[in-house]
């Protein structure tokens, strides 16, 4: 490996992935301290780790994610909006609801609903123009075909393997932008790249390849009926930019090596501080180095996290930094206990080899994290009346005693399912929890009619507690990077003075002095 990698020493591949033991999965042990198992990485995590091992440090301890945002110029979030809009457009055409010539008026509506500003709308309009120029014919053919293109497909496996001779199994989960059963394609859509590019945007080819690897590692029995007979081994892998479609080769030995290298970094950095300094010494991609003034252009973290100015004040920054180390780690551990363990539980519940263990896990999670339901009626405007399965009806009533619960709605199985956001509308007249009936707001239901559906609590949405820990990590990290240089400003700045007093020798008081009261 080393000869082709000028910038970073290859990581020794893991001999075994640290899986959670049965007693952890069955919640028979108290959750405390560092989790004795590896995290459950996402496709995005692995791609970021391939980009640079330091991204794993930022992801793990500083709550930053999505390092590969593309070069400057593309606003963060625009790619997601473009993809979501294309999904809506395609679904509407496939279901015979909207004609192609309504694309721009539909975009106007989308931007208005999403509250996008004029600049973003204008950018999306420009990307859409390029994209439509190439896609007009295929979209015409799509008219009235019914739900045969699936967007936002959630996949999760415990059986991903890389390189033929190695039998180490890894867990990976993620979301595939599009599975097109008409043209037999798996599509990764991106705004990156230019009109004249002859290669796909940086690492997008690896990403779609990895999605395909995950999808094909899942047992066919776990696919929803509508996808069960598809042979994904034969599918084309496409990276789609507004300007061009790139077909990606599936037999990629280099990608296999990269994936294992990335997973070794993810495992090591989660458990060892030595690995963190290793990561800094190996910063950069396998083929592209990274340093101040010579950053990898596509890496967002290089701009916002790796290289930043050193301020003079607060003077006690080093003590602050030392105190924050264990806090970052604790916040990360909490996420693994709350979030990653649930991913293991849900995936093992469907994919473990032991039938008894699987049914035990299902019994544990049903009514606690998953709530099977039936969609009864489309009321209007993405609002549906659903009926919760009788066996878990009261459990859901118990859960909603606490406020602000958010859910994902998954169609199919957890291993391969269509993921939609769902909000329980508890104030609606037709909502009757004791009867198991709820009015639910569901985004983008098209194409899901024949699938099993279930609510999933506390996993993917950004409002969930585990995700809030990431926000805390981000905020604390930005506090560490912040400061001022001017002494007069530092002397009057409450935050600077508080940090310097708290971690320095100054006097800290919680109340006025006695004589001041008397005055």
């Amino acid at each position: 490996m080393s000869s082709v990698y000028p910038t970073r020493v290859p990581r020794q591949p893991l001999r075994v992935w640290r899986w959670p033991r049965q007693e952890h999965l069955l919640e028979q042990v108290f959750r405390r301290g560092p989790p004795p198992f590896d995290p459950f990485p996402s496709i995005q995590d692995i791609v970021d780790a391939v980009l640079c091992p330091v991204t794993v440090v930022h992801r793990t301890y500083h709550g930053l994610h999505g390092a590969l945002s593309g070069p400057r110029g593309i606003a963060r979030g625009e790619g997601d909006h473009f993809h979501r809009f294309v999904s809506i457009l395609k679904s509407n055409i496939a279901l015979g609801k909207r004609r192609l010539d309504e694309a721009f008026s539909l975009l106007r509506m989308y931007c208005s609903m999403e509250g996008l500003d004029a600049d973003s709308e204008s950018n999306l309009r420009r990307y859409l123009s390029y994209w439509l120029r190439r896609k007009r014919d295929s979209l015409d053919e799509l008219w009235g075909q019914g739900p045969r293109i699936f967007h936002e497909v959630h996949v999760s496996t415990i059986n991903a393997t890389f390189r033929e001779k190695r039998d180490v199994r890894y867990p990976v989960h993620g979301v595939i932008d599009e599975i097109d059963t008409i043209n037999k394609r798996i599509v990764e859509r991106t705004l990156k790249g230019n009109e004249n590019d002859s290669n796909p945007p940086f690492l997008e080819d690896f990403q779609v390849w990895l999605q395909w690897k995950v999808l094909t590692s899942i047992n066919r029995d776990l696919f929803p009926d509508i996808l069960r007979n598809e042979n994904f081994q034969d599918y084309d892998l496409i990276v789609e930019t507004p300007y061009r479609d790139f077909t990606i080769e599936k037999n990629q030995s280099l990608f296999e090596e990269w994936a294992e290298d990335a997973l070794a970094w993810i495992s090591d950095i989660a458990r060892s501080s030595v690995a963190i300094s290793d990561a800094w010494q190996n910063k950069g991609h396998h083929t592209r180095s990274c340093s101040i003034g010579n950053e990898i252009e596509e890496c967002y973290f290089a701009r916002v996290a790796c290289y930043h100015r050193r301020w003079r004040y607060p003077e006690r920054r080093s003590t602050l930094h030392a105190s924050l180390g264990p806090i970052y780690k604790a916040l990360y551990n909490e996420q693994v206990w709350v979030h990653d363990l649930l991913l293991y539980q849900l995936t093992k519940m469907e994919q473990d080899a032991d039938l008894n263990f699987k049914s035990e896990l299902r019994r544990l999670l049903t009514g606690r994290n998953i709530y099977p339901l039936e969609i009864e009626e489309n009321i209007e405007d993405n609002r549906y009346r659903v009926k919760i399965d009788e066996t878990v009806r009261m459990s859901l009533v118990e859960e909603v005693q606490d406020e602000n619960l958010s859910f994902d709605l998954l169609f199919g199985s957890f291993s391969v399912g269509l993921r939609r956001r769902a909000y329980l509308l508890l104030d609606e007249i037709e909502t009757n929890p004791e009867d198991g009936r709820y009015v639910v707001y569901i985004e983008g239901m098209d194409g899901t009619e024949r699938m099993n559906a279930f609510l999933l609590r506390g996993l993917l949405l950004k409002e969930d507690p585990w995700f809030l820990k990431r926000l805390v990590q981000q905020a604390v990290f930005s506090l560490e990077k912040w400061g001022v240089d001017r002494e007069d400003r530092a002397n009057n700045h409450v935050a600077v003075r508080l940090i310097d007093t708290l971690f320095g020798p100054g006097t800290l008081r919680a109340r006025r002095k006695k004589n001041e009261f008397q005055q």
Binding site: A330, E398, E434, W482, A495, L498, L502, A510, R511
Partner: protein, 474 residues
Amino acid sequence: MSFSNRERLEETLEHFERRLNSNQVDAISSIIDEPVQDDCFLLPIIDGPPGTGKTTVGAYASLRAIFEGKSQSVLYIAPTNFAASQAKQTFERLGVESCDVVWLNPRSSRRDWDRGVVGARYDLSDLGPNDIRRLRSVPIIICTPYMLGRVKKGGLRPSNTKVIIDEFSQIDPALFFMILSRTGASADRYLRGGYALLGDPLQLPVVTTQRELMQNVLEFILSHHTIDGGLNSLTLQYRMHIEICNAVNRMRRELSFWRDFRPLEPSNEARFRDLIGLGYEYTEQNINNGCCLTSEELKEILDPSYTFVVVNTDKLRGSTDEEQTQSGSRRNEAEAEAAVDIAIAAHQAYHRQHERLVPQIISPYNAQVCEIKYRLRRRPQALGISVEESVITAYKSQGKEFPFVIVSLVRKNPERRIGFLEDEKLRAQIYVACSRAQGKLILLMSQETFGGKPLYEELVNIEGSRHALLWGWD
């Protein structure tokens, strides 16, 4: 930034000021004061146990700081959205117009400017320029720490803002640094108003799997620095009858993690204020047999001369062990039935003018809350009780007070396991639940299961008490 009813509000505050005790006055002065001083840094920390009016002190100090020109505006931070809505109510009780104290929350759909409730997405894309201007001109914004990204992004507070952090027992060090980062960490505009911490360090704790995050911010500060001159301790409480106060003090002593334990003292007006003192009349004849307790038993439990009653649920007819529900929570059917019996009997026996007493039932378990609600709805005698509001979890009871409280502890099993009710910190839920009561507190617990456990043993240690009763106790 100004209040729409400033003159009237100042009058109300003047009237209110006369009722403040010296500890409260000290605490308010500390909050208002300049944080950066010549020889020290002033970080006001108000240790306010239940009923001592800490949130009121925080609200009053906020208003004073603005009126006296010490701060241009206030950012009031509560650990949860529920606590934020409670804090908003406190401001409104002091006379602030709803539109002058805005609760900033994460749901776009929850927006009502007149009621002072504004939902906003993380990037503020759902707010127009006029909405942003309105938010910038509101004197007081209340929100959770997670909303501070929005506050910062929209520049919703000026640099001369006082940041008040309420219920700091639920603020871990990480969250505290997040608050510092989102409110103070800006190189081009420096925060001058300062911070203040309010709370009871013994109340609801940070719930986490990590030791480093179990400390609340006060514990963290104390582990790094000594606090010169001690905290602002509020020890005079205006809520609880002395018997309930004594029970709460016994729990406080058991929960206290530092040397500086100070018992709560009831104010003169609250000292012997039982249900009768609160204006309720008691009509014993209205008590009928319940499903689980006879009228005679209920009369004994509800006797107004006992303000603190512990009912041993082992002695209930048809006593049952707890069961775990599918959601992982727990319930105890017989105990739920007894709670309903007591609630209905109290509802029938106590009335004030033409209004019947509405008892409050609190349990630390969601499943028990659901079970009690279910049973209460099936009883025609409970018609006057608003079930959804009268049966709540311990978490939801925080910041509230009720004349009559029934606490159901649920746990009863031969192994004497009481789960998180034994946890060093999480058992504070019982402390919170019990300290909501003003005139009468009834605790339902199994002697066999809880007997001998440190906190609970202290709780039932009523030797010499004239107004306490251990019902069915061996």
